[in-house]
């Protein structure tokens, strides 16, 4: 980075029904700065390169250390978190766009409610008797725990769905993140008790069978969650469940 300023092109949209438009900003280059600090610089001086005063860019963020999943956007054509996108590692000018697979709320802020709704569909929880003290949880080997741990790092950021050719705004495909959660809960000694309900939820339209096996989800996952392996595993579980339903129900 030789120049002292960074050019940032932002795809803006005033509301869900509005037409998107582009604006270009210039912010000072600071070593080790990330996209969040560039957007904060724009907040402190919301003027375009042409000198036009505009509304500050709207985006979603919180933890700024890649554990909350909020600041996911498309940066130079690639979906990722803005907090870990360091400007000196990016090609310039930098382009920022909202994720395309979710409805835009405003500017870079999108509505990912669908992901949380899907978690309800597949009953992504463990049904306990109550919160009162009934002693220790199930005993299990650390290797089992480790397998579940990687899956439970999913921060519902939506990268896998943005990259997925099967997932679109106008279908009801559940997508990799949800399938991995089915695997997570079915792998728990108590969570297993509800596995039939979860598998029933991933059968049929929008379910596991609709996965086109493009394998891009796993490439963009910031937490390196074994998504394709999870889809294959849940696929196997579903096949068994279909057979079971056929013969025993």
């Amino acid at each position: 980075m030789a120049s002292d300023n960074i050019q940032i092109k932002v795809k803006r949209q005033d509301g869900p029904e509005s037409k998107p438009y582009w604006q270009e900003f210039e912010v000072p280059f600071k070593p080790h700065s990330n996209i969040i600090s560039c957007l904060q610089d724009i907040q402190r001086n919301p003027s375009t390169c042409k000198g036009e005063r505009v509304n500050p860019v709207v985006w979603e963020c919180n933890c700024l250390e890649e554990v909350c999943g909020a600041c996911t956007m498309v940066i130079n054509g690639r979906v990722r978190q803005a907090c870990t996108a360091l400007v000196h590692k990016l090609d310039h000018p930098i382009t920022l766009e909202p994720m395309s697979k979710f409805p835009v709320v405003r500017d870079l802020h999108v509505d990912r409610t669908r992901m949380f709704r899907n978690l309800k569909k597949v009953k992504a929880w463990i049904h306990v008797d109550g919160t009162h003290d009934i002693g220790e949880g199930p005993i299990l080997p650390d290797e089992e725990r480790a397998k579940r741990y990687v899956l439970s790092e999913c921060m519902t950021c939506g990268c896998c769905l943005e990259a997925c050719p099967q997932f679109s705004k106008d279908n009801n495909f559940l997508g990799a993140a949800t399938f991995a959660q089915v695997r997570l809960f079915n792998a728990h000694p108590t969570g297993k008790f509800d596995q039939e309900q979860r598998l029933d939820a991933v059968m049929g339209e929008g379910g596991i069978a609709d996965c086109g096996n493009a394998q891009v989800c796993v490439e963009v996952c910031p937490k390196h969650i074994p998504l394709t392996e999870s889809i294959a595993d849940v696929g196997r579980q579903t096949t068994l469940q279909i057979l079971k339903n056929l013969f025993f129900k």
Binding site: C68, H88, F116, K120
Partner: protein, 646 residues
């Protein structure tokens, strides 16, 4: 009356808010859960290390009573003891519950929970789930609340902001004024009680280890409505964080535990790459000033030393507020094996490889021990009466606080891995009392005149309208950064009354300039600017609570360090002498020669200081500023004594 479902409003979807929601739903209540964003993105996800519970899994002789002692001692005896003791006694059950909810806690060879050591204790008491314990705990509670949402007991209002409590003519909280952050609509929601589980205030310092939502605005709003705010001056500073333009990210203490050395170039403003600076031209200030402990001095000492080097000696790396934390003397293999996780984090955010170049770190605001004053009722046996509606209630009837937003549990300094515990504990513990409170009411919110709710909403409609009409010169985001800079420079690690007084003048100046703000964005849809300006207003008031509290507290206790009032503990002093001293005093005269002279003089100073200052700071809002008074601390279980960590 009895058939009516109890209805509660919980503000905040972190550990405390979710735990409380879950507990209330289990008691068949209905909950409106309000969050600034999707609850799954709450700040609790940032906690890494773990959660404490004295299960004695390793046969070390640990017990809840020792956990209790470590916690009150760590907090320099400023915490109300029955609450702390109750929390420590509940901790094992809380860990087992979280385990049953599916948290992927690391396991022992036999498949039980694994525990590790943490600061301020000699016992392996900290359960952990990899390096993301907070995230894992939050997700487990989020999942349980999602189940209740699926079953219709929880209504989630995400992308909504709490503006104020609805308080009726009798001074009772009957609901909350909310701001829909997408439509901009302002409306009220009624409830039998309102719970503020809204986290800490670290954004007052601009940049910290906290998340962007941690503005403290909700708690401050309650204070502006008359609620007492307690111990605001007690802010924990973590010595090692990664400086960033947007945030100061935590760098785990384990880096120093594995031999990390802290240094700065001897020549101030040296621009050479650290690797080109020869050993003789490096200032290893912790090692030089603390030959015995070296880089492993306690957190508060390390923070103070780094501050001194950077601000007083002006020796920060390349003139900036940071120092080196150097691991490069270790082999890559060693580092990957012992510190892999945290090295990756550093590399991801800075682009530098700590295996090759020293890390650049600086202390950062990390946690607020202070918060909204909350009540409790002990059971007369050193624990808490869990059925009491007084538990966690603020000084406004019907308004409750939990988690980092309240002031209890940690006294003057919090021990590591106790925050996740106190958040979940408060959320769960307050449940039965809330139900009792709802049952015992002589009037329910549905019978409160509509006008009360309408007036509350109208006030805020006007307020937001007024903010949107602000056409001055000041950029609110720029002004926020200036406020943070003032707090960082004057009200951080080393506190001096002259600087605190100056800070108050600077804050006054910022408050005046606040009136000249320009509301950059006046659109109606998904516009965060008016909301931010309102939060900035709260942050200005909160900065005053912190600063005035610090100015008036003329002592050195826990995280509140005022060198002028250091009691200067003799180096060979043993805290047990003080217990003997109290005992001998109890039976009459202290025999001559019972203690070395300087020890006796120190103990007398210590006793006199506690007489003056072992009390809770209470800030009351009036005429634009905090009015400070003090309340006694319940030290009925363990007599306070001098702190010392060998």
């Amino acid at each position: 009356m009895d058939k009516r479902a109890r209805k509660f409003v919980v503000i905040g979807g972190g550990l405390a808010g979710l735990a409380c929601t879950m507990k209330l739903c289990e008691a068949k209540a209905e909950v409106v859960l309000v969050s600034y964003q999707a609850v799954k993105r709450s700040h609790s996800v940032c906690a890494q290390g773990g959660i404490n519970a004295a299960i004695n899994a390793k046969g070390e002789g640990d017990s809840p009573d020792i956990h209790f002692y470590d916690t009150v001692k760590g907090g320099d005896f400023l915490a109300n003891q029955p609450l702390v003791r109750d929390m420590c006694f509940q901790a094992p059950a809380i860990i087992h519950l979280m385990d049953r909810l599916g948290v992927a806690f690391n396991r022992s060879p036999e498949g039980h929970l694994e525990f590790r050591r943490f600061g301020g204790t000699l016992y392996s008491r900290t359960a952990f789930a990899g390096a993301t314990t907070g995230q894992q705990l939050l997700y487990a509670l989020d999942e349980q609340v999602r189940r209740y949402e699926h079953d219709g007991q929880v209504t989630k209002l995400e992308w909504h902001e709490y503006l104020e409590a609805v308080i009726d003519h009798e001074g009772v909280c009957r609901g909350a004024v909310l701001h829909d952050l997408r439509t901009g609509e302002i409306f009220t929601v009624g409830g039998d009680a309102v719970v503020l589980a809204t986290g800490g205030p670290s954004q007052v310092y601009g940049r910290s280890t906290g998340s962007t939502v941690c503005t403290g605005a909700a708690a401050t709003s309650a204070y502006l409505q008359g609620a007492k705010y307690a111990n605001g001056e007690f802010i924990q500073i973590h010595p090692t964080a990664i400086p960033g333009h947007d945030k100061l990210r935590l760098m785990s203490e384990s880096a120093r535990g594995e031999g990390g050395r802290i240094w700065v170039p001897k020549k101030a403003g040296d621009t050479r790459s650290p690797r080109d600076i020869p050993e003789g031209e490096r200032y290893y200030f912790l090692e030089e000033n603390h030959p015995l402990f070296g880089n492993l001095v306690p957190r508060d000492v390390a923070s103070r030393e780094i501050y001194d080097v950077v601000f007083n000696k002006k020796m920060g790396v390349t003139g900036e507020p940071m120092v080196y934390l150097d691991l490069t003397h270790h082999s890559k293999e060693y580092l990957d094996d012992r510190l892999g996780g945290i090295i990756d984090i550093y590399e991801k955010f800075t682009g530098d490889d700590p295996r090759r170049v020293p890390m650049k770190i600086f202390p950062a605001v990390h946690y607020s021990m202070g918060g909204l004053w909350t009540d409790f009722k002990d059971d007369g046996h050193g624990l808490i009466d869990h059925q009491s509606p007084r538990n966690q209630m603020t000084s406004i009837t019907g308004l409750y606080a939990a988690g980092e937003a309240d002031f209890q549990y940690h006294g003057a300094n919090r021990l590591g891995a106790n925050s996740l515990l106190s958040c979940i504990y408060t959320g769960l513990m307050m449940g039965p009392g809330l139900i009792q409170y709802a049952k015992n009411q002589d009037k329910v919110f549905e019978n409160v005149p509509h006008q009360v709710f309408e007036d509350a909403a109208d006030k805020w409609k006007d307020r937001i309208k007024q903010i949107k009409s602000m056409r001055g010169k000041e950029n609110p985001y720029g002004l926020h950064r200036e406020l943070g800079d003032v707090m960082m420079e004057h009200v951080l690690i080393v506190r001096e009354n002259a600087k605190l007084e100056k800070a108050l003048l600077l804050i006054d100046d910022i408050e005046i300039r606040f009136r000249d703000i320009h509301c950059l964005d006046t659109t109606h849809w998904a516009n965060p600017t008016p909301s931010f300006i309102n939060q900035l207003h709260s942050m200005i008031h909160l900065s005053k609570i912190i600063t005035v509290g610090a100015l008036l507290r003329n002592e050195f206790r826990g995280a509140h360090y005022k060198p002028e009032f250091d009691l200067e503990q003799p180096h060979d002093f043993d805290p047990h002498e003080y217990v003997d001293y109290l005992e001998q005093k109890h039976y009459g005269e202290i025999p001559e020669g019972a203690f070395p002279e300087d020890h006796l003089a120190y103990m007398k100073r210590f006793e006199a200081n506690n007489e003056n200052w072992l009390k809770t700071t209470i800030a009351h809002y009036g005429e634009g500023k905090p009015h400070i008074s003090y309340e006694p601390v319940d030290t009925s279980l363990v007599p306070p004594r001098p702190r010392k960590y060998e």
